[in-house]
């Protein structure tokens, strides 16, 4: 071989070796210039030996304002039958129906199903099986399998094919506590009512699909899937517990059909407690229909609308003071009846109360006086004021299922001219308990209304973000608010109301509203209510109480006012609010 031949061979080898990188370069360019070329490969991916499945991350936790767990997750099992195994339907049906409390025939039918590859491979028997029950079943399966191995019988009884898959289900450690606020989560992971529904998307997290290779050679690190966001509520579990107990007691004592208590912080818009009856145990949400009958709302505080009655009067009076329609010197002579356009108004006792100051009107809760005040305000200012207080509008609370209520406005087809004299004392207008609490809170917060909310912080990505209070509006000035607060405090004091609390100055108003029916207002059934706040000079919380159709007495001053006192007496202790005199002394 001469040099020429050798060189030629090297050229051939070099050329052959160059082809491969050249092909690689061409392919790279081809992919770069036409990315669509890769699409068929990506589309074909699922058919490759990979398994794609949805990753269900733990649902975010819910805490109260002090960090007590209100909603967590627990392990439950799904029991089913893998149909590819050689099964014994009789044994499976007999054992599972006895252990899981399921119908024998249903299990037998499921266990007898024929296996069809890719179509009929699995039969579900029961979901949400508690851990203890699942452990017993696991032991039974193992025990029967062991006995079958030892048995000389040709077809020994065994539970081949029965499988248990662990899952996470919602758990509520406090059981019924704050159930109306929390809502519940179905087995499918869908939040229903309350916080669970309102924040379902972030609590549940984004569902992710993860591709797991079936070939162990291709297994790699799995993409981490973040869990759902956790929430810290403004609710205080201990306050909520006490408020629920007081409400339950009030219902027993008054014989009321149902009731609601809202404890609200006017300065921040935080809801400290919100009790509503009836309430379910969200751990057993399937009992819902047995407890909350018919179309009754899940949370009456936001889902039930009603005519509020006299607790509405402070709003009318506040508008009148704000626009200067009345002042502290204004005297109204009450003749016991007031007619305006198509409406005639009487006082609650049908009596005439003679000359009254505006404080007297509030103190004696005179419908006639308030009707006159509304006329002094005039249609335009009256309804504009009501809207500014948020009447007839959603409060925007972060709970699912809020109702709007109704404020008929001039121009509406069913509005009658002169209706404002009824609206003035809370008739002909429908509100939710939270709506009225939020509206009245303007009087306790220097005229400002904050957006009500139950979520005070969100925890996600390892960080806590606190939610700042948000101003919803300012329907009246701080001066009017303080004036109204003072008038209402004096009214209670002069009446020696049952709402008064020793050592603490409170402001508030009772309400007794007749219930509208298709044939007019009922006289024997009422909505009794009370709204008040404490301490008057620096309101820490506002309490709204609504008892529906009390039997012992129809009057708010008799059935609702003592409940307010009881709530305040409990809360000042739990919240460490000293009596006014001591507070003044300590602050010096």
């Amino acid at each position: 071989m001469n040099n020429h031949d050798q060189a030629q061979r090297f050229y051939i080898l070099g050329g052959a070796l160059s082809v491969l990188p050249l092909l690689v370069a061409v392919q790279i360019l081809r992919i770069q210039l036409s990315p669509n070329w890769i699409k068929p490969i990506l589309e074909a991916l699922p058919n490759w030996p990979y398994e794609q499945h949805e990753v269900i991350t733990p649902r975010g936790l819910i805490y109260d304002r002090n960090g007590a767990l209100l909603a967590g997750n627990k392990i439950v099992y799904e029991v089913g039958i893998e149909l590819q195994y050689d099964r014994n339907p009789e044994v499976i049906a007999q054992m599972l129906s006895a252990m899981l409390d399921v119908d024998y025939m249903d299990v037998y039918a499921a266990a007898s199903k024929e296996y069809v590859s890719g179509k009929s491979v699995y039969a579900l028997i029961k979901q949400n099986v508690p851990q203890e029950q699942a452990e017993k079943l696991k032991n039974l399966i193992a025990q029967m399998e062991e006995q079958a191995e030892k048995s000389k019988s040709k077809n020994p009884p065994r539970l081949t094919g029965v499988v248990l898959y662990p899952r996470l289900a919602r758990a509520y450690p406090e059981n019924t506590l704050a159930a109306n606020i929390l809502g519940y989560v179905t087995l499918q992971g869908q939040g229903v009512f309350g916080v669970e529904e309102k924040y379902n998307d972030i609590l549940a997290g984004q569902p992710r699909y993860v591709v797991d290779p079936l070939n162990p050679l291709n297994v790699g690190e799995r993409e981490s899937v973040p869990r759902g966001v956790s929430l810290i509520l403004s609710i205080d579990a201990l306050v909520q517990l006490e408020v629920e107990r007081i409400l339950d007691k009030a219902l027993r004592q008054s014989g009321a059909d149902s009731g609601t208590i809202v404890v609200y912080i006017p300065k921040t818009g935080e809801i400290l407690a919100m009790a509503s009856v009836p309430r379910i145990d969200p751990n057993r949400y399937w009992d819902y229909e047995d407890i909350i009958k018919g179309k009754a709302p899940f949370n009456r505080a936001i889902g039930a609308t009603y005519e509020p009655g006299s607790v509405y009067k402070p709003i009318t009076m506040a508008i009148a003071f704000e626009i200067g329609a009345v002042n502290l010197e204004t005297i109204f002579t009450d003749t016991g009846v007031f007619s305006y356009k198509h409406n005639t108004v009487y006082n609650w006792n049908r009596g005439a109360w003679g000359p009254q100051s505006m404080q007297g009107c509030l103190q004696h809760s005179l419908n006639v006086c308030l009707a006159w005040v509304a006329v002094q305000i005039g249609n335009e200012e009256f309804y504009r004021g009501m809207q500014a207080f948020g009447i007839g509008r959603l409060t925007g609370v972060d709970l699912a299922g809020e109702m709007q209520g109704r404020l008929k406005m001039p121009g509406d087809s069913d509005w009658i001219d002169g209706e404002l004299v009824l609206n003035a004392f809370g008739q002909g207008v429908s509100v939710t308990p939270l709506q009225i609490a939020v509206a009245i809170s303007a009087l306790a917060n220097d005229g400002k209304i904050m957006v009500p909310h139950v979520v005070r912080a969100v925890i996600g990505d390892g960080y806590q973000r606190n939610i700042e209070p948000e101003l919803a509006g300012m329907p009246i000035s701080a001066e009017t608010a303080r004036l109204m607060s003072e008038l209402l405090a004096r009214s209670l004091e002069k009446e020696s109301s049952d709402a008064l609390v020793t050592g603490y100055r409170v402001a508030g108003k009772t309400g007794t509203a007749e219930i509208p029916t298709p044939t007019g207002y009922t006289s024997n059934e009422t909505n009794a209510s009370f709204v008040g706040w404490v301490p008057v000079d620096d309101p820490q919380f506002l309490v709204y109480i609504w008892l529906e159709k009390p039997k012992t007495s129809p009057w708010g001053s008799i059935v609702a006012a003592p409940v307010f006192r009881e709530v305040v007496e409990k809360l000042v202790v739990l919240l460490n609010i000293p009596p006014d005199a001591i507070r003044m002394k300590l602050s010096q």
Binding site: Y63, L69, P216, Q464
Partner: protein, 165 residues
């Protein structure tokens, strides 16, 4: 003297001997044996690596299953703990220990220097430090040729004429 022609002729002469046939056979057998050993080595290495990879893959799958089970257990235990610390359970325990609620008229308020009431729950670091994601690779490594060309030309045009084409 050997002239150039004689030299050339000598170079073109075939060798005057051949290796013994048995030697050739041994050479071929040896060569084939060497190839077989090489192939066997490659197969052995491949199979060892593959088996170890598969084994590690199975371990990873097991660990993933373990992590999932552990996560579920943690969630479950957290709820159990929540139940043990629930306000109703704590109240029962307090009563059992002889405690009772004090009424509003029983409260005595004192000024305690240095005492601060417990804050509301802070269960995670507050806020979030915003970290601007730093690019680990220059864009040339992640963009297509067309995007790169477009970007480069845009930049060039901007540099030359002070505006985009």
């Amino acid at each position: 003297m050997i002239n150039e022609k004689t030299m050339e002729h000598h170079e073109r002469m075939p060798p005057s001997y051949h290796p013994a046939p048995w030697r050739r056979q041994w050479q071929v057998i040896g060569l084939i044996g060497a190839v077989l050993v090489f192939v066997a080595l490659v197969i052995l290495i491949y199979m060892t690596v593959t088996a170890r990879t598969a084994s590690v893959g199975r371990q990873i799958q097991k660990m993933q299953a373990f992590i999932e089970a552990a996560d579920r257990r943690i969630e479950d235990l957290r709820s159990t703990l929540g139940q043990l610390y629930s306000v109703q359970a704590m109240e029962k325990r307090a009563f059992a220990l002889g405690y009772q609620y004090y009424e509003v008229d029983q409260a005595i308020y004192l000024r305690l220097p240095g005492y601060y009431a417990a804050d509301d729950a802070i269960l995670a670091p507050l806020g979030r430090v915003e970290v601007v994601p730093a690019r680990s690779l220059p864009p040339e490594y992640t963009e297509s040729v067309i995007t790169w060309l477009q970007r480069t030309l845009t930049r060039l045009f901007a540099e030359i004429w002070g505006s985009q084409p």
